[in-house]
Symmetry: C2
Subunit: 334 residues, 2 copies
Amino acid sequence: MVRHLAIVGATGAVGREVCALITESQLRVGRVFLLASKRGAGERIRVFGEDVEVRELTESAFDGVDYAIFTAGAECSRKWVPFAVGVGTVVIDNSSAFRTDSDVPLIVPEINPGDIELHGGIVANPNCSTIILTVPVWPLCRTHPISRIAVSTYQAASGAGAAAMEELRSQTRDLLAGGSIEPGVFPHPIAFNLFSHDSPIGKDGYNAEERKMIDETRKIFHEPSLPITATCIRVPVLRAHSESINLTFERPITPDEVRAILSNAPGVEVVDDVDAGRFPMPVDATGRDSILVGRIRQDVSQPDNRGIELFVCGDQLRKGAALNAIQILKLLSH
Amino acid sequence: MVRHLAIVGATGAVGREVCALITESQLRVGRVFLLASKRGAGERIRVFGEDVEVRELTESAFDGVDYAIFTAGAECSRKWVPFAVGVGTVVIDNSSAFRTDSDVPLIVPEINPGDIELHGGIVANPNCSTIILTVPVWPLCRTHPISRIAVSTYQAASGAGAAAMEELRSQTRDLLAGGSIEPGVFPHPIAFNLFSHDSPIGKDGYNAEERKMIDETRKIFHEPSLPITATCIRVPVLRAHSESINLTFERPITPDEVRAILSNAPGVEVVDDVDAGRFPMPVDATGRDSILVGRIRQDVSQPDNRGIELFVCGDQLRKGAALNAIQILKLLSH
């Protein structure tokens, strides 16, 4: 029993997905409050079979609210999460605002559910790319220690929100009609194009998205110095992220061992049918809870059979965001 | 002076690009013969300012032809290249048919022009993804020996030909209009989707495209056991390929050293402006001769500053195919 729940940013891409998934879930919730900026207020969104009116996020919005899922971005979270916690609400924060704080657990329920005990009012939901990376890699780590992760992403427009998905559609439509392109949400054309993730770049040359994947994976795995590198690329796909993952293990491991481990891993589905040419694709991952894993093979460039290549796809809005947040809510309310 | 030149597969995506680029080039050519299958015969394509009629490829087509550029795929090359060589034509073959034959030089003119001396009538043009990988990596290897290459590709529809580019356009148009998708050239939906390269998969789990990148890079670099791995992915981009390249060097190397070397490397343009957020993109690489290189940074996952990350884009039809073939033609005719 969750009692009263607020969803902050209910009109956004992730917020809407939370509304849909919470309805599908087996959770028993008291009242659901949908909150958004002034602009989003007034809209009605269906939750648990009822059309709930979205209200403006104000200081009184958390009165009597036991849990809140924040999905409105880091700026909103930095402003409102401390306030919500101050009035006794336990917050599941989908933004990057508090993820690396030492007193904020960063949870992927399939990996480190026990960390949730340490929370002081805030539980952070990892970045979508981190979740999609860690869910299939963790079960391998448990039996075969990993000495390095190198990942290249193929990230969908949904990661930048509903307006970005619409920009991909409308820009593509304009281009096909022979029109010119006017970037809006993204700084570069997204129609039939791709580009390095447009988050700020640090002194070490990594952008913020890559830095999140590195820092968050280390925190979730409890391996603060795990060697890991990432290259994050935005591609003209609507809503599932893909990742090309190269792993180095401390000891030899075979593709068959990987396949056996992943076939029994929670939150993972092996899609690796060489005869049928069937491997993970964004269109197949869309609307699915599991991370699809395929192209499992021995990396021929690494000695002693210690390298493994994987290609994975996961629904950025579901397991990459809304579903993971709801799984955290379940952990909290048990 | 090239004397008489035939372009086989003139009506295909690469063939048309050869016709355009040979006109732009400084090459003096005698007669140009455009050849294609029966279906393509009769069309007229502009070369050196004249509309040249495409003729059907027959046994008499190579009479008096000094050089031929084959761009019609491996099946056509296997059938016709030996015949053309038999009647005295020197062939530049853009297909994979003969690339790994020990007596066929595989040439990237910026890298191994000297190998061309060894030809016995056939010079092979590498796979597009291989060219786009090797042009920027080679200048680094020359001063800083490389001990491993790991690459993930983002390959445009153009790599599968003109019909594939049209399929990307028409499928996307249908999807945006709310219609359903009917894969044709590609076995999977390409509109707003991506998938593992659909070439056959070998016993080691690598597909043929990945195997080409591995084998061809080793041959071009004269390093038959170079540790290299590749993951090849098709993305909904029209005509420039991108690659996320992870390098391991035998000794330390800094991003500044990489930038300095690549700034003076032939066929390469460094596009790595952190302040302006400007990095290589397919739309910028399209129609360009150079391979664009950016996101140059120290790989934080590798010890002793021996790792470098790069992100590159190159026009698949130009440097990835037609331009490289014309550069080979220049080498041959000098």
